[in-house]
């Protein structure tokens, strides 16, 4: 039993790793295509049919590019930076319940790598480590623009994590658990949290944009101001890791949002499939991914539409707008929950 358990997990980990990377790679492709469509263009179409091989070409090119470490840069930190960024982005996917349990070979296989009962705390913990990658990388480059990027990144992440956490607390209040699986299970059918917590969702979504460094909060790397921001001095695959980690982070944070607010793998009419758990699991996974992709689409759609904030305005928005809204929302939710449970 124990061996099977580990084998299951191993298969799942490898699968997840590949899926995350694959999705991240094709997110770049999709982002470029979507940007092109929005801008009345065609986008990459010469690498393979419809340019479908574009991410592979980019990847190979970056692998073969000269790996450059600037003079006076801290060699080790310079390498560690992108590593941390990539590692933290990837590891969060371990706690995500990707679907209902499968029934195969007479066993019940959980589609979640690590079933920890404080999943959501783990996620926040990892996300806050993520900023170190950018910070260390930007600092180690020994370039002023990189340093600016690093400073902007760290203060931005710290500010937005607060509002993000507070808006997530409301979900924890409603579902009464820190376990992501439990949170998903509590949103059976169409009983999604978004209906109860639209405000928390908006706050969370904005914070997610900021946490993943996406426009309009892409200040750490905004190229019109800081050239490349924290990755100005990076080339080759180290740059690749930085760019990739952004897309992986976007994928993972979309997944978390889908879990917290859109019921994860729940979908209306799922009760009809009660008798066929495997089919339910497959459709559940598909539905979950559909939700993730929709959120990713919105991420990108926003990026190609609106201007970015200025740094002080970003701070202003974080501290003076989002945190108060999240707090008030949390208080109201607390009262309603308490009232509902007849605690007073």
């Amino acid at each position: 039993m124990e061996t099977f358990y580990w084998m299951d997990k191993l298969v799942l980990v490898v699968l997840l790793f590949l899926i995350s990377l694959g999705i991240a790679a094709y997110q770049t492709y999709f982002e470029r295509k979507l940007a092109a469509w929005i801008q009345d263009r065609v986008g990459p179409d010469r690498a393979g049919p419809f340019g479908i091989l574009q991410p592979i070409a980019d990847g190979v090119k970056m692998f073969m590019k000269e790996d450059f470490t600037p003079m006076n840069a801290d060699r080790w930190l310079f390498i560690i930076g992108p590593g941390i960024a990539m590692f933290t982005s990837l590891i969060t996917s371990a706690i995500i319940p990707w679907g209902p349990n499968l029934h195969l070979f007479g066993r019940e296989i959980s589609l979640q790598v690590a079933e920890i009962n404080i999943g959501i705390l783990f996620a926040f913990g990892i996300i806050s480590i993520g900023v170190y990658g950018i910070m260390i990388g930007g600092w180690a480059s020994n370039n002023k623009y990189s340093l600016f990027g690093a400073i902007r990144a760290s203060s931005q992440m710290i500010s937005y994590e607060l509002a993000m956490g507070i808006s997530a607390i409301t979900i924890i209040m409603i579902s009464g658990s820190l376990d992501l699986r439990a949170i998903v299970e509590s949103q059976h059918g169409l009983n999604w949290n978004i209906w109860y917590q639209p405000v928390a969702f908006i706050v969370f979504f904005i914070c997610a944009l900021a946490e993943t460094n996406r426009a309009p909060f892409d200040l750490p790397e905004c190229e019109n101001e800081l050239i490349g921001g924290y990755h100005t001095e990076y080339s080759s695959m180290k740059l690749g890791l930085f760019l990739f980690s952004e897309y992986v982070a976007m994928f993972v944070s979309s997944a978390i949002m889908a879990i917290l607010f859109f019921g994860g793998y729940n979908f209306p009419g799922m009760d009809a499939l009660k008798d066929n758990p495997n089919l339910l699991a497959i459709i559940g996974v598909a539905v979950f991914f559909a939700k993730i992709f929709l959120l990713i689409f919105v991420f990108m759609w926003i990026r190609w539409t609106i201007p970015r904030f200025r740094f002080d305005q970003l701070m202003h928005l974080g501290w003076k707008v989002l945190i108060p809204i999240a707090l008030v929302n949390m208080l109201i939710t607390g009262f309603v929950v308490a009232f509902y449970h007849h605690w007073f």
Binding site: L34, W37, I38, Q39, D40, R41, V42, D45, W301, I302, W304, T305, I306
Partner: protein, 180 residues
Amino acid sequence: MESLTNRKKVVSDKPMTFVEKLYIPAILKGMMVTFKHILKRRKTVKYPEETREFAPIYRGMHVLKRDEQGRENCTACGLCAVACPAEAITMTSAERTKDQAHLYREEKYAVTYEINMLRCIFCGLCEEACPKEAVFLTDRLVPTQFERGEFIYGKDKLVEPADSRIDITKRQFTGKRTHV
């Protein structure tokens, strides 16, 4: 400072309304615009598979014309070289001998005629200067090259081949006083 004209109108003093202060409506409006564009037809011309039509008077690569009998029009008067602001045209001239009458229309002809296509700015002044209808710009493009030396275009590349003529009648008459 007092107004200099009576046509002044302040355009940027409209204060932000409450709805605008909420961020979201304007963002949604922008997103609707971009979404509409996703569904629109693409404007891209997929060069080199598709090409755009150039104006008939487009100022591209030069051609040295021949007349109807296949003789070169150029008389090596040097006006084009004088008129060239980039000083890209050089030529040497020679007197036509009797047995060359079928080759050159005028008494004098250009032995060498070179345009440095890398210097050329395609302003069209040489075409304007030519009194013999010899040099014209066409809507063909000068191809890109790997070596700088390959941009000195001699007569071999400039004179139109006798068997495949280049039609420039459109540029001679588009918008001009004399119409065909």
